[in-house]
Every structure is written in C-alpha cells, then in structure tokens.
C-alpha cells in the first residue's frame, strides 16, 4: 500500500513538474541569444524573388509569418488557424477551384499596423507583377498556379483574375483548372501578408472591381524600381513573422534578428522563445573550432564524415549536443534513356549491379548516409508509411558481376566487335538495322567534384566493369557546360544539342510538394525543352507520376498507394542509380533545448520551438 502511494505521488510529482516546466516555457518572454553558423553566405537580400541564397531564405522565413498555410513537422500542409478565421473552397464551372480565406482580426505587422486582406493580396499581386519580373525577379514563385497568372505576369492583362479582394478581412485565390485536382493544392494557396507602402508607397493602390485585383496605373518599373530595390535591403523593415530583422552588416555578412513581440504565433500558436538570433557566416575548415570556442552556438546541416566525426568528438567531450536527420534527396548517377547503350534497360540494370552502392555511400558520407532504391527521401511521410511494402517490392540491385553479365546477355550484348559470340573485351549488341553498338558509356562529370572522384575508383576503374565487357569514359567539365549537355541546349553551341553523354553524376532534393510529373513527362513539347532530363519515354511512368499529384488532397491513402506504384515502376526502369542519401547532423551548444529539426521542417521552423537555457 505504501509502495503504491509513493509510486502515485512520484508520478504525480513528475507530471506536475513536467506541466509546470512546459507552462513556464510557453508563457515566458523570449530570452537568450543564439549564434547560428552558416557556411552559405548571407547576401543581404531577404526576399527570395531576386536570388536563391539558402541563408537569406532562412532569414526570410524567420521574419515573415501569418501565412494562410504552414508546414507541420511531418512535412504536411495545414491551414494556419492563428491567422485564418475560416476558409471555404469551391469548384468552379471551368474546373478551377477557389479558396476563400477570412483572416482573424487583430493580426499586426511588426510596426503595429493591422494586417488586412489587402496585405495578403499584395503578396500575390506584387510578386507576380511584370514590374518585378522585368527587374530580374522570379515572378512565378507566389502566384503561378493561380488563374490568370501568365497574362498578368507577362503584362498582357492588368487584372489578376485568380486573386480577389472581397472585403477588409476576406480574399480569395483561384487555382487554375489545369492544376486541379492537385494533392498539394492547399500548399498552392500559401500566402503571407506584405505591406504595400513599405515596398512601394501610399500612391499605389490595389483594387478589385469584381473581375480580379489590379494595381493603380502609377505602378510602373520606371517609377518604382529604385524604391523596390531599396526596400530589399531596408532595415527596419515591415514584416509580420516571429522575428524582426534588426541589423545586417554587409562587411561581416552577419544578420541579427530579434523576437517580434507583435507576432501571434504559428499554426500551433507557437511564438519565438529565443530573444536574439544571430546568423553568422562561418567557413568549413574552422566551423567546429567556432562552435568549440563559443563563437557560434549552432551549426546546421553538416554532411561530410570528417566534419561529423569532429562534431561527435566535441559532443563526447561534453557541453554540446547534436540532432541527426535524413536528407530528403540523394546523390545519383543519372542515366540517359534515349540513345546509346543506356537506352537499354539491361545496361542500366548492369551499371547498378556493378556498383557496390552500400560501399559507395559509406565511403562518400563517412558512414553517415544510406542508400535508397527510388526517387524518395527517407524523411518523407509517404515513404515512412509504406516502407515495409517498398522494401519488399523494390529491387536493391546488390553488387554482383554475375548478375550484371546475365542481364547484359539477356539484353543481347553477346557479340564482339566483329559480330562473333562475345569472349572478352568490350561487348557489342546487334541493333535492328544490323549495326553493332559497343558497350561504351560516355560519362560527364563536373570539375572538383568528390562524388566524381569516388565514382572513378568505385565504378570506372572497377575491374569487374571491364570483366562485364563494359567501358566507361569520363569527361570532366564545368557544371554549366554539363547542364548544357544534359538539357541539350543548342542555343549556346550546336554541339550541345547532339546527345553525347550517357550518364551524369548529379544530386537532387525533394521539396514538401513531391511532384515528379514534369521530370518524367512524355509531352512532346515539354520533352523537347529538357524537362525530362533522363530523356526517358515511358508512358506508364509518366502516367503514374501525373496520377499521383492529381489525387484529391483529402485522399491521403490514395496518394500513398500511387506513390508506391510510381516508385516500383521507377525502380524497375532505373533512370537514375541512387548513390547515397546523407544523414545530416546539426551540432549545437547544450544551452539550446527542444531543437527538433528534420529535412522538411528545417531550421527556421525548428528554431521557433527551441529555447535557450543560459
């Protein structure tokens, strides 16, 4: 009886303490300071429309907020109830779909001014306008899926028909019929507020006469280019996210952010708990020393084995912690499927059998990586939920010279250069027109690329490759020239338009919106542009990729089933040989608590839930 009583009291104490701790943390004012070391340079342009620096984008995500739709830590889109009072959807007669949002009253920018529907509309209008497009900005980032975007963005129409301002607190966006249904359609309606008079001035207005929003006629590039360019780097700046940009030092590439007291919270109601964030540039060679000496408190996204081992040594010494998470993407050997030996599936399979991918991944990542068997990252929810099924269905292409020879022989690679039965040297295949094709693969690799160097050792110079009757010739070139060959861009030089290389070593990352329909399209027009840069024409693969994203957003299981079918087909066709998927490591000072990052819920999101304990 006494034991039971003590146990109950003990549990009660633990629970009470835990709740007290949580409550204290949640209700506390933000405190402390955290210095984030970034090997990516901070450019100082904290909107993503003019450039795509990763560090600048992180800061952009920290200073902007109150979006209609946000990402959960599982990498899924949810409506942000803190900003949105209610929303409704309506499928229109032309097949388009309208999302109407009513925002909560009382939301404010960091300057104290109230956020209204027009501020959400401003985001779609300003960043889709021809004016910013002509200034060199990417004006497709915000509104490209909305009805009428192309005409508005190219200046053919003054009115953006897919964006409506309905009243002070209500606006709507209409997704064009060509994108409906779309599994990620909620994500397409993600809009945050932008203060129009910060970027332009009070002279420019946005109106809606019932057909869609439009700018007043005085909004021209000539009149506002200088103002917009000045606003890109302006401090203080009007924003509404969890942090305010307090300072950016161009000479030291250091940005200082302070918690925004006016921020009401994200979709969970979560507000910033760290008072000051400092984003500082560090260099790879000394970043661990910076962490050790306290010059920085957090290093994000380390992937090299040497760096990670140095970090783990630091953790072992005490005072530091780390979080490891899987990359949503992988490094790959991309095979070209419309000419030369790699157009034959047996050759693509043979390459996979001749490369010990586990050994490669271990060598390249220093043991901090894994091997995937399809175009997915192990952090993705659909992979996690169908892992057992996929593990059973997918061919892992284990290293085997015998298997490589077998598939090549089954594929007709059974001749020597004279057309006699193959005995040694390079294999040949007799084509339909009677000519012999040698099993020689031309490989394009970018300069100073450690993956290429390892591929030379593990694949090109592997004696089993020669034993299988295959020869691989490497050509090293600049990355941009490699891209010209990959996309067959004859506008630069006619030589690029001629299919020349059978394989390229590249890497890819998958965003939250997992859409492979363009990558494997067989649409003749898109195919010619190099959208499908494996140049693989497989109707079933294209169909499965399209069907997956054309799933109704509420049909989560349906999407998952289609994902499995798509991956299965891909794994059979093998347009890429996945080489490695990194396990990223973030190392940080022990003072940082509750830091739970993953590949999709990255630094700006994870830091919102973290706090420092000095």
């Amino acid at each position: 009886m006494v034991k039971k009583l003590v146990s109950v009291l003990l549990i009660a104490c633990i629970v009470t303490t835990a709740f007290a701790a949580c409550g204290k943390k949640a209700g506390k004012d933000p405190s402390g300071q955290l210095i984030i070391g970034s090997t990516t340079e901070i450019g100082g342009d904290f909107v993503p429309f003019f450039q795509n620096g990763a560090a600048d984008y992180d800061i952009y995500k920290m200073i902007e907020g109150n979006e209609t739709v946000e990402i959960t830590n599982a990498g899924e889109f949810v409506v942000n109830k803190t900003a949105v009072k209610e929303y409704k959807t309506e499928v229109n007669a032309d097949g388009s779909k309208t999302y109407t949002y009513t925002i909560n009253k009382g939301l404010v920018f960091n300057d104290g001014s109230e956020i209204k529907a027009v501020d959400y509309v401003t985001t779609a209008m300003l960043w889709s306008s021809k004016v910013v497009g002509d200034m060199g900005a990417d004006n497709s980032l915000v509104g490209k899926y909305f009805k009428g975007w192309a005409d508005f963005a190219q200046g053919k129409s003054k009115v953006f028909t897919g964006v409506r301002l309905l009243d002070d607190y209500t606006f709507s966006v209409t997704i064009d019929a060509q994108y409906i249904p779309y599994f990620y359609e909620l994500g397409l309606t993600q809009l945050g507020p932008t203060k129009l008079n910060f970027w332009l001035d009070d002279q420019v207005t946005i109106k809606d006469d019932g057909e869609g929003c439009y700018f007043s006629d005085n909004f021209t590039k000539e009149a506002y280019e200088a103002k917009i360019n000045a606003a890109r780097g302006a401090i203080p700046r009007v924003s509404s996210g969890p942090y305010n940009l307090k300072e950016f030092d161009e000479s030291t590439k250091t940005a200082i952010l302070e918690a925004n007291p006016n921020y009401k919270g994200n979709h969970d109601g979560q507000k910033a708990q760290i008072k000051t964030l400092i984003y500082k540039k560090v260099v790879t060679e000394t970043q661990m020393d910076e962490l050790r000496t306290g010059s920085v408190d957090l290093l994000n996204g380390l992937s090299s084995g040497n760096e990670i081992n140095a970090g783990l040594d630091l953790v072992d010494a005490g005072g530091f912690s780390y979080t490891a998470y899987d990359r949503a993407g992988y490094g790959k050997l991309q095979l070209i499927a419309d000419f030369g030996p790699t157009q034959f599936i047996e050759v693509r399979h043979a390459i996979a059998y001749l490369l010990d991918r586990n050994d490669f991944a271990k060598a390249f990542t220093g043991g901090f990586g894994s091997v995937v068997n399809g175009p997915y990252g192990v952090a993705m929810w659909m992979y996690k939920e169908s892992k057992d099924d996929l593990d059973e269905k997918l061919n892992q292409y284990p290293y085997s010279l015998e298997k490589a020879i077998e598939v090549l022989e089954n594929g007709g690679w059974i001749y020597d250069k004279d057309g006699n039965p193959y005995k040694e040297g390079i294999r040949y295949k007799k084509l339909d027109d009677g000519t012999l094709m040698p099993l020689i693969l031309e490989w394009a690799s970018s300069e100073q690329n450690p993956v290429s160097e390892l591929l030379v050792v593990k694949l090109q110079n592997n004696p089993d490759v020669a034993a299988a009757g295959m020869q691989i010739n490497q050509t090293v070139m600049t990355f941009t020239e490699l891209l010209n060959y990959l996309y067959r861009d004859g506008s630069q030089d006619p030589k690029y338009a001629v299919p020349t290389y059978n394989m390229f070593n590249l890497a890819t990352n998958f965003p939250v919106m997992y859409d492979q329909s363009s990558q494997y399209t067989i649409d003749p027009v898109l195919f010619e542009t190099g959208a499908n840069d494996n140049w693989i024409k497989d109707e079933e693969l294209a169909k499965l990729a399209s069907e997956m994203v054309l799933t109704d957003p509420t049909d989560r299981n349906g999407f998952k089933d289609k994902f499995v079918k798509f991956i299965e087909r891909w794994n059979y066709l093998l347009p890429d040989v996945p080489l490695y998927s990194n396990i990223y490591h973030d190392f940080y000072n022990d003072k940082l608590k509750n830091y739970n990052i993953n590949a999709l819920f990255d630094l700006p999101y994870a830091l919102l839930y973290a706090y420092v304990e000095e």
Binding site: M135, K144, T252, K253, E481, N484
Partner: protein
C-alpha cells in the same frame, strides 16, 4: 617630362580598351550558360513550361541572345558611364556590391603593409649591417621559413594555437556579432578580430621585404662613398642611415610603391580562413558562380590599378634617382 607622362597616359587608354575587349571576349568564351545557372535551382519546383519560360526570360534579360560585339559595345558604354551592370547572382548593381569588400580589403591591407614595413625595414638594415652574425643568420632562417610555408598552413596553426587552445583571439570574423559600444570600442573590437589575420599576413610578407632591404643595404654598404664616409670619421649611425640607407632606398622605394598599390588586392587564403569579406574571395566567388559582370569589373579594376601603378613606379624612379629622369 610632361610629354612623357601624356604619352604614357595615351598608351594607358589604348591598353585599357584592348584589354577590356580581350577580357570581355575571353569571359564570354567560357563554356556555360549564366541564364541556366540562374534558373537551375527552381527546375524541380515549377512546371516545366514555366521553367522554360523563365529560362528564356533570363537569357533575354542578361542579353545573351545578342551578338558578342553588340554586347561588348553595350557593356563598354555602360562602364564609361560608371555602370558596371547587375550581378547575375545577387541581382544588385556591381557598383554597390563591390563597396563592402573593397573597404574591408583596403582597411586590412593598410595595417598589414604599415606593420610589415615597420618591422621589415629596421630588421633588413640590421641584418645587412650585422651580416653573417648570429642575428642575421637567425633572421635569414626565419624569413626563409616564413617565405616558404604556405599561408593556409600558418593560418591553421595560428588559429589552433592562439584561438582554439589559448583563446587569445577569435577564430574568425571582423567584429563581435551584436556588439554594443562606442565607435572607439568598435574600432578596438575590429582590431582585436583582425589581430590574428594581420599577424599571419605580416609573417607571410616579412621574408621577402627583409631579404630585399638586406640585399640593397649590403650593396650600398660596399660602395666607395660609404668607405669614404667611414674614413672621414663619421659616426656609424650617420654612415648607415644618411649615406648607405638613402642610396639603398632607391631600389627599395619602387618595391614599396608597388606594394602600396596592392592595398586593393585581396588575399584569398586569409579571407577564406578568417571569413573576411574581401576582394579576393569576392572575385573568386564571382568566377565560380559565373557572375561575369562582377568578375570582369574586378579584373578590369585590377588591370587599371596595375597599369597606373606601372606608370607611377616608372615616374618614381625619376623622382628618387635623377640619373634616370626623362628630361632634366
């Protein structure tokens, strides 16, 4: 003399035009497509037709579809108006982007040169006067070591020793992030951060200048006028500084002037190791990003500085040594 200067300036202008043409052509012959680089990162994020449209827009905006001569003419015309174009990476005017790294580089180099000269000249003179002494031999050994060791090795060793182990200096950076203090305190904070890179830059440059001063001084000390001065019974200090050093200064001064002209040149290794935003890193980053407008501007700037520097050095010969003046 005036005619000579005008002639040199005329050559300078012609040279600049020729070099600008060659540089522009060379940069544009580099295989690659800046428009592709610009839009590549969004390839998998937007529909293929949108990607293609944006790619074509980027080509149009960057003027890549025009003939090369037209592009050169447009570029040169803008350069003469002080418009160096837009950075294709930062989408900001090159003229604005170059200010911060240039300021940093000049700030660092001025201190590095002054410290180096302040140390190297007295040591070089003493080594020459005490030729083959223990002091001279020791300095010779250290200068050879300093001269031969790659800067990044010295930097890594110094960072490990003075920043990590002893904690005397910060590992990198130019200021304490979020530093609150007066302007004077901010200056000292900056100097505290720059102490280690300046120390390494000084070590790296001491070897060459010490040996140069020493050699010039040894030559001067063996001249007849020095023997005459000694024979006259002048004090050794007067012999060394008034007679020998003044004459030794003639070859040294041109080196010093040339050295001062390098205050605009960034040190890639030091900037990279200590994370300093200077001209060396700025230029290399532009090259690796194929940000042609920045790369060509920096290249042309260095070319102008080098050409002007040569004119100044040639003129300085005449100023310090009347024997080589063009007209008397």
């Amino acid at each position: 003399m005036l005619k000579y200067i005008l002639k040199r300036l005329l050559y300078f202008v012609i040279l600049i035009f020729v070099m600008s043409f060659l540089t522009f052509m060379l940069y544009n012959m580099i295989p690659g497509d800046p428009a592709r680089v610009e839009v590549q990162s969004i390839k998998n994020k937007v529909p293929a037709e949108v990607y293609q449209q944006m790619y074509q827009q980027a080509r149009q905006r960057l003027g890549l579809d025009d003939p090369l001569l037209v592009r050169y003419g447009r570029w040169m015309g803008n350069i003469l108006k002080g418009d160096f174009g837009m950075s294709s990476v930062y989408k900001q005017p090159v003229r604005e982007l170059i200010v911060a790294p240039m300021k940093n580089t000049i700030f660092i180099n001025i201190f590095a040169i002054l410290i180096s000269l302040g140390i190297a000249i007295p040591i070089g003179i003493r080594c020459a006067v005490k030729q083959n002494s223990l002091f001279d031999n020791t300095v010779q050994v250290f200068t050879i070591v300093g001269y031969s060791l790659p800067t990044f090795i010295i930097a890594l060793v110094c960072i490990f020793l003075f920043a990590v182990k002893l904690g005397w200096f910060p590992v990198s950076g130019m200021t304490t992030p979020n530093f609150q203090g007066t302007a004077v305190e901010a200056f000292f904070d900056k100097m505290y951060h720059l102490a280690l890179p300046l120390f390494i830059m000084t070590i790296g440059s001491l070897g060459g200048i010490i040996r140069y001063v020493r050699a010039a001084m040894i030559d001067a000390l063996h001249m007849d006028y020095v023997k005459t001065a000694r024979a006259k019974g002048l004090k050794e200090k007067v012999v060394i500084y008034s007679h020998a050093w003044r004459n030794a200064l003639l070859p040294v001064i041109t080196i010093i002037i040339g050295w001062f002209l390098t205050i605009f040149s960034g040190s890639l290794v030091i900037e990279r190791m200590f994370n300093l935003h200077g001209m060396g890193k700025f230029y290399i980053d532009a090259l690796s990003n194929q940000d042609y407008n920045i790369a060509v501007t920096v290249q042309m700037f260095y070319f102008v500085i080098a050409s002007l520097g040569n004119i100044i050095i040639d003129l300085s010969y005449g100023l310090v040594d009347p024997r080589v003046r063009v007209n008397k």
